[in-house]
C-alpha cells in the first residue's frame, strides 16, 4: 500500500510546475511535459528492477527485499526533496524516478511470491490481496500529499520538499513494520485439510517447476507478456486521460451551461476509477481460483473489449451514470489483470521461481506505460486534426476523438484475447527435476 503511492504522484504535477512562480508558472519553472517523466521513469525502473533483481529476491527472501525496497523508495523521496531545494529536475528523475522506481519493483514482487507460498490452495486470492494493496496506495497517498502540502505551504514555498521528506519518513516506518512481520512458510507447509490436486488432474496447472531462465524461452511466457502489455496499455491509456476525457465528453457546450462536468467532479471520477481498480484486483483474482486463469482472462479481454465499444454510445446518450459504470467495470478488470497474472504464471511455471519470473514479466508494464498514453495521445491528436480540417467544431471534434481511442483500445484487448486462446500447458522438457529450495525469511 505504501509503494502504491506512485499512482497518486500526479497530485504533485501542478505544484511542481510553479515552484518559482508559486501562484502560477513563470519562466524558469518546469514544464508539465518534463514533470510527467518523473512518474514515467519510476514505472520504467519498476519493471527493469523487478526483471533484473527477481532472482536475487528469490534467493534472499521477502524480509531483506522489503528492507532494500523501503530504503530505495524512501531515500528516493529524500533525494527528490533535495532536488526541490536545488531546483534540479534531474535530481527528481534520479530520486523518485530511478531510486524510487527500484524500490517499487522490489516492493511489488516480494509479497506476491511470499503469499503464493502461504496460499497454495487459493493463489488467485493471494496475489489479488498482495496487488490490491498496491492499487489502494493512491487513495491514501493522494489525500496525504494534499494535506501535507497544505500544512507546509507558506507565502514563499508550496511545501513540496517538506512533504516529500515527511512522506519518506512516514512510509519508511510503515514499511519497516512489513519487514519485521513478513515470513515465508516451511517448504513442506500446506493449509490444514488441503489436498493438492493430483498430477495431471488439471492440465492448465503445472505440478512441476520451471526456472526463470528457461521460462522466458517458452511461448507461454511471451503470450502472457503480450496479454499483460495490451491489458495495461488500454487501462493506463485511459487512466492518464480520465479527467480531461469526462470533462470534454460531458462539457457545458454539449450539455448546456452549468450541466457539464467540472474539474472537481472529474477528480471524483478519477478517484472512483482507482477504487474499482483496487476492488477488481481482489474480486476477479479470487474468482479465478474457481473459474481457472484462462477463462477469467477471456472475460477481462473479451468483455473488456465489448465495454470499450459501448463507451461512445454512453457518451452519445449523454448518460453520465452509464458512462461511469462502464469505466468502473473496465478499470476493475484492468486491475484484475495485474493481480491474476502472477497466479497464471504460478499455474504455468510452478512456485519455485515465480517471483523472479513475475519480475521479468513486469517489463511488459514498463512497455505499456509508454505505449498506452502514447497511443491515446497520438490517436486523439490525429482525429482532432482531421475533424477540424473537415470543418467540424473543435469541441465536437475533441469529444469524437475519444470514440476512436475506445475502438483502438478494444482492438488492443482483442489481440490479448487471441494470445490467451493460444496459451497451452508448458511442455515437460522445460520443467526442472530438482525439488523446491527453501527460501530465506
Amino acid at each position: 500500500m505504501c509503494i502504491g503511492q506512485v499512482y497518486a504522484f500526479s497530485v504533485f504535477n501542478i505544484p511542481l510546475s510553479k515552484l518559482v512562480g508559486i501562484k502560477e508558472p513563470v519562466p524558469g519553472d518546469w514544464a508539465l511535459t518534463e514533470i510527467v517523466w518523473i512518474f514515467n521513469i519510476a514505472i520504467i525502473f519498476l519493471g527493469l528492477s523487478a526483471a533484473l533483481f527477481g532472482k536475487w529476491v528469490e534467493r534472499n527472501g521477502p524480509r531483506k527485499t522489503m528492507l532494500v525496497s523501503a530504503l530505495c523508495f524512501c531515500s528516493g523521496f529524500a533525494v527528490s526533496a533535495l532536488g526541490i531545494n536545488q531546483h534540479s529536475l534531474w535530481l527528481l528523475y534520479l530520486g523518485y524516478g530511478v531510486l524510487g522506481g527500484i524500490g517499487l519493483g522490489l516492493g511489488y514482487i516480494s509479497p506476491v511470491s511470499t503469499l503464493l507460498k502461504w496460499f497454495p490452495d487459493r493463489p488467485g486470492m493471494a496475489t489479488g490481496m498482495a496487488i490490491m494493496g498496491f492499487g489502494g496506495g493512491a487513495m491514501i497517498g493522494s489525500p496525504l500529499a494534499v494535506g501535507l502540502m497544505k500544512h507546509y505551504q507558506s507565502a514563499t514555498s508550496l511545501g513540496i520538499g517538506e512533504t516529500f521528506l515527511a512522506m519518506g519518513a512516514i512510509y519508511f516506518v510503515i514499511m519497516l513494520f512489513g519487514v519485521l512481520t513478513a515470513r515465508v512458510p516451511a517448504p513442506d507447509w500446506k493449509p490444514a485439510g488441503w489436498i493438492p490436486t493430483a498430477a495431471g488432474a488439471n492440465k492448465m496447472i503445472a505440478t512441476a517447476n520451471v526456472d526463470t531462465d528457461t521460462a522466458i524461452k517458452t511461448p507461454q511466457f511471451w503470450l502472457l507478456w503480450v496479454i499483460l502489455c495490451v491489458n495495461v496499455s488500454a487501462g493506463i491509456g485511459i487512466l492518464s486521460q480520465a479527467s480531461p476525457m469526462i470533462q470534454e465528453i460531458f462539457s457545458d457546450v454539449r450539455l448546456g451551461v452549468g450541466r457539464g462536468i467540472t474539474p472537481e467532479v472529474a477528480a471524483g471520477f478519477v478517484g472512483l476509477l482507482s477504487l474499482f481498480n483496487l476492488l477488481g484486483r481482489f474480486f476477479w483474482s479470487s474468482l479465478s481460483d474457481r473459474t481457472g486463469r484462462k477463462p477469467i482472462f477471456m472475460i477481462y479481454l473479451g468483455l473488456g473489449a465489448v465495454l470499450y465499444l459501448l463507451i461512445p454510445t454512453a457518451g452519445h446518450l449523454a448518460t453520465t451514470t452509464l458512462f461511469v459504470l462502464l469505466f468502473c467495470l473496465i478499470l476493475s478488470m484492468y486491475g484484475a489483470g495485474f493481480a491474476t497474472i502472477p497466479a497464471y504464471l504460478r499455474d504455468m511455471f510452478g512456485t519455485l521461481q515465480v517471483g523472479a519470473i513475475h519480475g521479468r514479466l513486469l517489463t511488459a508494464w514498463s512497455t505499456a506505460a509508454i505505449l498506452g498514453p502514447s497511443i491515446v495521445t497520438y490517436v486523439r491528436e490525429y482525429r482532432i486534426k482531421t475533424d477540424v480540417a473537415a470543418g467540424i467544431a473543435e469541441n465536437v471534434a475533441k469529444a469524437n476523438a475519444y470514440n476512436t481511442t475506445m475502438y483502438v483500445m478494444a482492438g488492443l484487448l482483442l489481440v490479448g484475447f487471441v494470445c490467451n486462446l493460444l496459451v497451452k500447458p508448458v511442455a515437460a522438457k522445460y520443467q526442472v527435476k530438482e525439488t523446491a529450495r527453501p527460501v530465506a525469511a
Binding site: M139, I140, P143, I174, A186, G268, F269, T321
Partner: protein, 39 residues
C-alpha cells in the same frame, strides 16, 4: 531457515487494523468526492 512458530491472534488482529484503518479512510474520502458525479 524458515521460522515455523505460530503467529498470535493479537498480532494478526493488529496487522489487520494497521492496514484497514488507512484503507477505510482512503475509501471514505474517495466516496465523498465521487458523490458529486451522481448529483
Amino acid at each position: 531457515m524458515a521460522n515455523q512458530s505460530k503467529t498470535s491472534p493479537l498480532q494478526v488482529a493488529l496487522a489487520w487494523i494497521f492496514v484497514l484503518i488507512p484503507l477505510l479512510w482512503g475509501v471514505s474520502q474517495t466516496f465523498i468526492k465521487a458523490l458529486a458525479l451522481f448529483k
